[in-house]
Amino acid sequence: MARKSWMYSVLEAVQYEMRQRKDMVWLFELTPPVASNPGMPVINLEKEFGRTRVNNTGIDEMWMAGATLGSGLAGITAVTYIPYQGNGMCFQMIQNHAGKLRHMTGGDAEMPIVFILEMTGQTPGFAGQHSDYEIDTYYAHIPGVKTVIPSTPRDAKGMMVSAIRDRNPVVYLYPAGLRDMVEEVPDDQYETPLDKAALRTTGGDLTIVGSGGSMPEVLEATKRLQEGGVGVEAIDLRSLKPMDTETLVKSVQKTKRLLTVDQSYYTLCPGAEVIARVAENVDGARYKRIAFPDAPPPASPEMFLWMRPNADHIMGAAKRLLG
């Protein structure tokens, strides 16, 4: 156990699995699979496993996703790390191929593959085509593909282990705004389930549900509300598909108040699905939904920070729900 950065935790998981599986491959562009952590050995997958298995490709995300899928279909565990600039370019391969092939083949196709898709949208000044948090909605909509989104280094490692070992294609969303997070992460391999939400706090007055990049603001608002005497059940979805309906329903049955928080665009954001599932199962609850407006993120930090959901916005909405 040591305090580890996000990327060190993830690469530690991958390094272990690659040592066990002598043909497992990793494809990347731009971001070499290298991480260091104070007092620990540098992890450099390219150096350790060589360019045949760890390949620095051109800027072609169709290739990266296709090569990952094709490797999987040929029986090879494959992971690709697609930086945020290209996380929509690979959509066709994942949505229309990876998501459909098992079903199309009557259950025959094997796809032990992971698409790590980096997301931005947390950083003021990036703007336009360099702000693309909304892919959580797009990928979670696809049948046949698991779509997960860890929000802590510890979950990032455990969910990476589970994703690699899963025989289904997994879209593993990486909210890059959380790259500076550091926490205690076990050295051993461990699995974190790909279908369970996490209760971050328990309380009886209000359920707040978020995921990925919205979690730090959710937890900050939760802390402030609890200090004010409000019992908050903060839930980190962790998996968008499959979605852990049971945990959500149980919580709102108790609190009768549900607030969802997303950095994704308002229309069809993960929170919309959360509210729909709860509303189908819980009577007499009240709801509010916070999300980024249905507008592309502008460059100006003044505009962007006004639009990006934060702890103050969550506090305001929570008070209106409680009032």
């Binding site: 562009e29 290209g86 000044g125 703007a127 336009g128 085509q129 100006s300």
Partner: protein, 405 residues
């Protein structure tokens, strides 16, 4: 440098020998301007294509020189600002080192006139050079890069996304690939309109590996579109050498597949770039189809921002934490700095008598003043109104502020 002598040799092998008189003339230019090596400093006529630069009036040549200086001093001033002014929020993917490419190409285009007549330029994530060469207002660009409400795009775009439709600068496409197809698409539209406009896209060596490379060139060739693909090969896409993504040394070789001209030019020589661009523009306007121009060039700074750079010093030689495990050799950076496109052009213009040392110095001083004033103007511009973030999503109205629940 091995690469430069190879470039010269290949070109001589591929093309008819230029006339003796022209070669003598060029050697004279080379002799006058060579500071590093004879083979790498001369401006040469590129075989079959016309040496159009010989016909350029002095005013046009001086304007091209000023454009290159404007790009250079914008970059240097902004890099210094990023390094020294903690309050400055702007950033850039610096273009310094590649000035001759943007200037040479845009000097061969129609940059003024009604939108239905002006030539179109699609840019990249490294757009400030293309923008200034096309004629974007320097002050407004500085304001935009610092997120000001009175900036080129009212603070919505910033560096990787700037555009100015009024002069046919269709915008920086921050992604790798889509810009090529959009530009070819504009050429498709232009052909339907029946105007003699051309559509130009700038792209880096990294674009070769994208499916869009083939999509754009294949369709532009099939339809004889007025499309010019200017591939700026600065050797690195992001942090990787282009040999990681392209099996050829000259990416222009790919043009043979489509049966269209694929021209390699020395991207440090603005006149060579201009000659190739002029040829491509005339071909495109005449309905004869696309051209692929590969300009061999180099960026003096790292991929993004100013890591490894020092205030007041051109270029970045130091550590770039973003490069993680792949670094550009310092000696490679210095070797390219030794054949700086602005020095080369300055020497040529002095040799031709277009400028003398004093006039060249005065031109530089005037541009430095202009750039300084532009940044000062930008500094005083108002910040954006936060609520405007939900405007301009559609033609009219604004979208709901969903962040408050």
């Amino acid at each position: 440098m091995a690469y430069e002598s190879d470039l010269s040799r290949d070109s001589r092998e591929d093309e008819p020998t230029p006339s003796t008189s022209r070669r003598t003339f060029l050697k004279a230019v080379a002799g006058a301007s060579a500071a590093v090596s004879l083979s790498s400093q001369f401006s040469w006529a590129n075989g079959e294509i016309g040496y159009w630069a010989k016909d350029l009036p002095d005013d046009k040549l001086k304007e091209m020189y000023a454009t290159m200086l404007r790009i250079r001093w914008h970059e240097r001033t902004q890099a210094d600002k990023m390094l020294t002014d903690p309050k400055y929020r702007g950033y850039n993917h610096f273009y310094a080192g590649q000035e001759a490419v943007a200037t040479g190409v845009c000097s061969a285009l129609r940059n003024k006139g009604p939108f239905e007549e002006v030539d179109l330029v699609y840019s990249t994530h490294r757009p400030s050079g293309h923008a200034l060469a096309k004629g974007v207002d320097l002050k407004k660009m500085c304001a935009e890069n610092d997120f000001r409400a009175t900036g080129l795009n009212k603070g919505y775009a910033a560096e990787m996304h700037i555009s100015d439709k009024s002069i046919g600068f269709m915008g920086a496409d921050g992604m790798i690939g889509p810009g090529l197809v959009m530009a070819a698409g504009s050429a498709f539209g232009i052909r339907a309109r029946g105007s003699d406009q051309v559509s130009v896209v700038f792209g880096g060596d990294g674009t070769y590996a994208t499916p869009a490379f083939h999509g754009a060139l294949n369709n532009a060739t099939l339809l004889d579109l007025p499309f010019i693909y200017v591939l700026e090969n600065n050797l690195y896409h992001q942090y990787a050498h282009y040999s990681y993504s392209c099996p050829m040394k000259d990416i222009a070789d790919a043009a043979r597949t489509y049966g269209i001209p694929g021209v390699v030019v020395d991207g440090q020589d603005v006149l060579q770039v201009y000659n190739a661009a002029r040829e491509a523009v005339e071909r495109a306007r005449a309905g004869k189809g696309p051209t692929l121009i590969e300009a061999k060039t180099y960026r003096y700074y790292n991929h993004w921002g100013a890591p490894g750079a020092k205030p007041g010093v051109l270029g970045a030689f130091g550590y770039d934490p973003l490069a993680i495990s792949s670094f550009r050799p310092e000696r490679e950076v210095r070797a390219w700095l030794a054949r700086d496109p602005i020095d080369i052009f300055r020497k040529t213009l002095i040799n031709w008598g277009t400028l003398d040392q004093a006039k060249a110095d005065a031109a530089e001083a005037a541009v430095k003043k202009e750039v300084k004033e532009a940044f000062e103007w930008a500094d005083k511009q108002p910040l954006c109104n936060p609520e405007d973030g939900v405007k301009n999503v559609f033609v009219t109205g604004s979208v709901r502020a969903a962040q408050f629940g």
